[in-house]
Amino acid sequence: MSALPAVAQPILRLANVTVTYRDRDVLDRVDLAIQPGERVALVGPNGAGKSTLLRVAGGLLRPARGHAELGGMPVGALDRLEVARRLAVVPQQATLPFATRVEEVVGLGRLPYEHPLRGARPADRAAIAAAIERVGVGHLLGRDVRELSLGERQLVLIALAVAQATPLLVLDEPTVHLDLRHQVGAMDLLVDLNERDGTTILAVLHDLGLAAHFFPRLVLLDAGRVVADGPPAQVLAPERIRDVFGVDPGLVRIPA
């Protein structure tokens, strides 16, 4: 298995993935390949299967047919730790049962590297500090995450994923709780992580305008199927917006 050729391997590949839930295909024969260094937005109406696709990619959900690969390895053949070192997930929301400080939450990103006995080591400390710096949550240190605003919590969860230091970063609606200014701030951060650090990014986004403005490649999912995949102007053609979203295409501004 280690003798794989050195040609560019997709960092994430879904091959003919079908996920069935109560007799309904949540994902229907989905094929998708993302190359290292890409920045991809996954868009589509509610219930299109976007979150399900992310869960298949992370190995949390085993598809009824087809399979997912991370860096050429079938996800099902990797153990949880190996997956966690390849792919970090920023959840839509998360709950905390106990008071937990910002740096403690960000520090959870180092769990995949921690020694079971010794815990975090200096390298982990450095990664945590760097992630806090990179995402710009330094001013929140020492505060209980449960007392932060929704937007601040989102940034803390992104910092956790950055501390995880994986080549692939997956986000489930990272802007959902943010006001416009913070939405743009989060998008700038993702672009920066992608362009400066080379992190491959796959983000589920609801806002087509944000997706089109900040992502060079869009994947449009509808009723479990990939109906378009390409640059924003091509994917978000007016007739397709009318078909898939059932709204007036004039409501969505696509940058030229």
Binding site: G58, L60, D79, R80, L81, E82, V83, A84, R85, L87, A88, V89, P91, Q93, A94, T95, L96, P97, F98, A99, T100, R101, E103, E104, V105, G107, L108, G109, L111, P112, E114, P116, L117, R118, G119, A120, R121, P122, R125, A126, I128, A129, L141, G142, V145, R146, R153, L160, Q164
Partner: protein, 360 residues
Amino acid sequence: MATRGESLTPAGLALGRAAGVRGRPFVLAVGGIAALVVALVLGVGFGSVLIDPADTVAILAQRLTGIDLGRAYSAAAETIVMDLRLPRVLTAMLVGLALAVAGVTFQGLLRNPLADPYVLGTSSGAALGAAIAVLIPVRIAILELGLIQVLAFVGALLAIYTVYKLSRTTGLAPLTSLLLTGYAVGSLLAAGLAMAMYLSGAQLRQIFTYLLGSFDAASWTRLAWALPIVAIATVAILLRARTLNGLLLGEETAANLGINVARERRILLGLASLATAAAVAISGLIGFVGLVVPHVVRLVVGPSARLVLPLSAICGAALLAYADLVARLLGEIPVGVVTAVIGAPFFLAILRRARAGSEL
């Protein structure tokens, strides 16, 4: 143990300083161990026969470490200390340790600050198992103790498994669901315990002490049964601190952080039940230790299980040693009464705060 903790490595100091918690784990560890030593001397000295603390120290030094402090003490004092009081104090400490560690584990695993072996019905399951073992006529004492341990473990496992499975099938919020299910199953098990008492005849008093919680019957033999079990369970849980930390943000995030949640849950539920059962088998139902101790420790050092587990072990041991001392000073009342008087108001206070929302 605590010196390996979060805030004590050089780079961690910078983060810890920002939060003003630098050195807290260390202070709590030293304070807890000092409290344990004082509890040992006081606990061995106090009782129906008062033994001079200086004599107590001399006897303990001579018998435990072989150091002769050159102080003359009576043979009667030595017998009381070594055969009656010392096993009792050490039993209280071991039980406190086991219940606190089980409490941290249940709380982290079930992501519920109100979970503890007593509230979840695990202790009741263990007590019923132990009571059934008492009713089975085994003539050889040492085997009887073993049977008590085994059936206590079976009872604890069945109880937590039932509560866990049932709590996941209700339509209620997880916190509410778990507490209500624990209450219902615990009540049923308590009825079973009452039935065991009804059927017991000559063993009534022994089963009765399971219900009340007491260290009256503490002995070196009983301690020798529980000690290795608690030690193994505690070490195994300490090695899984990472799992408990990963679960802070939920099961899905834990899985994304590299934790095999389903497997770890089975293992940790089993280990926490094992520690609970070993404790209940030698002391009966003692409530709220597993609730109060981890909560206070978390307030001081934060939620990291790497710190909370060992520090709760120390503080749990100290708390129950002092609770037993109070119980004895009040005329041999059951120690479970003392912990309930401390713990029940505490439980209500946490419940009041939980309403404000523990959601992130």
